[in-house]
Amino acid sequence: MSGSRRVLRQLLVTCWLQLKMTGPDTFTGVLNVAWPLFFATTTFLVYRITQHGQVIVYAGLGASIMGIWSAVATTAGGALQRERWIGTLELIVSSPTPIPLVLIPITIAMAAIGLFSLGMTLLWEWLVFSIPFHIAQPLAFAFALFAMVFAIAMFGFLMSVTVVRYRTAWALGNFFEYPGWLLCGFVVPLSVLPGWVRPLCYALSPTWGMLAIRQAVDGGWPWVDGGVCVGLTALCGAAATLLSGRVLRSARRHASLSLT
C-alpha cells in the first residue's frame, strides 16, 4: 500500500471508529446536539423581540454553527486525557503512526457530530421559530461549510496538543466554548465587539469560515473569505503538528505521559 493510501486509510478508519465510540454516547454524542440547541433557542427568543426578520435569520445561521464549535471545543481538550485514562496514550505515542494522524481524524469526527447538531438546529429553527433558510449558492455553501468544519477540527487538534500536560484538560477545553461563540462572530456581529478584540477575531480561521458561509447564503462572494479560512486552517494545523512533536518528546523525556 502506498504512503498516501496508508495515510488516507488511517484518517478514515480513526474517524469512523471515533464516530462509532462517541456518537451513541449520551454525554458526548446526544449532549453535543442538545446543549447548543438551548443556547440557540435563547438567542432566537432574544432576537425575536426585535421583530426584525433579517436579524433572526442572521442569528439562526450562526446559532446552527455553534454546535460544531461546541462539539470540538468541549471534547478536543480531553482527547489525549481520555487516552491517558484508559491506558492507551503510551501505545499511541510509541506507535510509528505520527500523532497528528491520530488526533486530526478524532477532531474531524467530533466536528462531524457537530454537523449533525447543525442540521438539528436548522430543523429546530424552521419547525419551532419558522426561520426560513434559503441558500443562494449551494456549491459555495458546501465549500464554506467544509472549510469551517476543518477549521474547527484543526483548532481542536491545536487545543488537544496544547493542554496535554494538564491533568484537567477537559476543563480548559470547556472553557473555550463561550469565547469561541463570541469571538468567531457566530451570533454577534464583530462590529459590536470592542475594537481591540477584533484583530484576535480575524486571526481565528472559523471567523472567516462564518463570513464565507454568510456570503454563500446571501449570494455574495464567499471565495476570498473561504480561501483565508483554508489558509489559516493550514497554518493552525502546521503549528499544532510542530507543537505536538515538541510536547510529546518532552513528555517522553520526563516520563510524564501517563501522569493522571
Binding site: 449532549l31 435563547t42 432574544v46 484537567t168
Partner: protein, 261 residues
C-alpha cells in the same frame, strides 16, 4: 448534637472530598471565568439586538450560572461516592438521612452563592453596570435564596444517581432548561404562554426577577413576595429530593444495585 455534627462537619468534609471541581485548575476556568464569558456573550447579543439593558443580562446570567455548581456538586454527593466505592458504606450507617444529605447541600449553597456573586461583580465591572451600593446586601440575599432553591433541585436530581450511573447529562439538560425558561436572558413576560407557565414553577425565576428589581432601586420589602415564592419552590424540590433518596435507596438495596457503575 449528633445530627448537628453530621449536618455541618460531615457536610463540609463530604463536599471537600467529593466535589473534585474544587481543584483550582478546574474551579477557575469552569466556575469563575466561564460565567463571565457567558455574561459577555449575552450582553453583546442583547446590544446587537437592541433588547434590554446590560444589567438585565449580567444579573440573569450570573444567577443562572450558579445552577452549574449547585447541580453538579449535589450530583457528586452520590455519583462520586459510588466512584470511590463508599456509597454502600455511607448508606449502611445509621446516620439520619435528612442531616446527612442536607449537610452536604450547605457548602454547595455557599459555593453557588460565591460563584454567582463573583460573576455578578466581575461581569458587571467588565461591561460597566453600576449597582447602587445600598442594593448589594439585598441582592446578595436574593442570590443566596436563588442558589439555595437551585440546590434543592440539585438534591432531587442527585437522588436519581442512586438508580442511574451518571447524572451529568441530565444536569446539563436541566441547566440548559433553566437558561431558556428562568428569564435569565428573555423577559418572562416575553416568553410564549406555555414557557411562561413553566417558568413560574422552577428555581431561579423569581430570584432573578427580585435581583433585577433590587438593582433597579426596589426595596427588599417590595421583592419579599418573589423571594418567598423562590423559597417555597426550593423547599418543595428539596423535600422531593429527600423523599426520592429514601425511596430509591430502599429500591437499590433491595435490588443490590447501589454500587453499579
Amino acid at each position: 448534637m449528633r445530627s448537628l455534627r453530621i449536618l455541618i462537619i460531615g457536610g463540609l468534609f463530604s463536599f471537600r472530598a467529593l466535589f473534585d471541581w474544587l481543584n483550582p485548575w478546574i474551579y477557575i476556568p469552569s466556575l469563575l471565568i466561564a460565567p463571565v464569558f457567558q455574561i459577555l456573550l449575552f450582553v453583546y447579543i442583547g446590544r446587537s439586538a437592541g433588547v434590554e439593558s446590560d444589567s438585565f443580562f449580567v444579573i440573569g446570567n450570573a444567577l443562572q450560572f450558579s445552577a452549574i455548581p449547585c447541580l453538579f456538586a449535589m450530583g457528586h454527593t452520590i455519583t462520586a461516592e459510588r466512584f470511590t466505592q463508599t456509597l454502600g458504606i455511607v448508606l449502611s450507617t445509621p446516620a439520619p438521612r435528612v442531616p446527612l444529605f442536607l449537610g452536604r447541600s450547605l457548602p454547595v449553597i455557599v459555593n453557588g452563592w460565591f460563584v454567582a456573586m463573583f460573576s455578578l461583580v466581575a461581569g458587571g465591572r467588565l461591561v460597566g453596570v453600576a449597582v447602587p451600593a445600598a442594593a448589594w446586601i439585598p441582592i446578595a440575599l436574593a442570590v443566596l435564596i436563588g442558589t439555595a432553591s437551585c440546590t434543592g433541585l440539585g438534591l432531587a436530581t442527585a437522588a436519581l444517581g442512586l438508580r442511574v450511573r451518571d447524572t451529568a447529562t441530565l444536569n446539563n439538560i436541566i441547566i440548559g432548561g433553566l437558561l431558556v425558561f428562568s428569564g435569565a436572558n428573555v423577559p418572562v413576560g416575553a416568553l410564549p404562554r406555555w414557557m411562561h407557565v413553566i417558568s413560574q414553577w422552577i428555581p431561579l425565576t423569581h430570584a432573578i426577577e427580585a435581583a433585577r428589581d433590587l438593582a433597579a432601586g426596589a426595596t427588599l420589602h417590595a421583592v419579599t413576595p418573589l423571594l418567598l415564592r423562590e423559597i417555597v419552590i426550593g423547599t418543595v424540590f428539596a423535600i422531593l429530593g429527600l423523599a426520592s433518596v429514601r425511596v430509591l435507596e430502599r429500591q437499590s438495596r433491595r435490588g443490590a444495585s447501589l454500587e453499579m457503575s
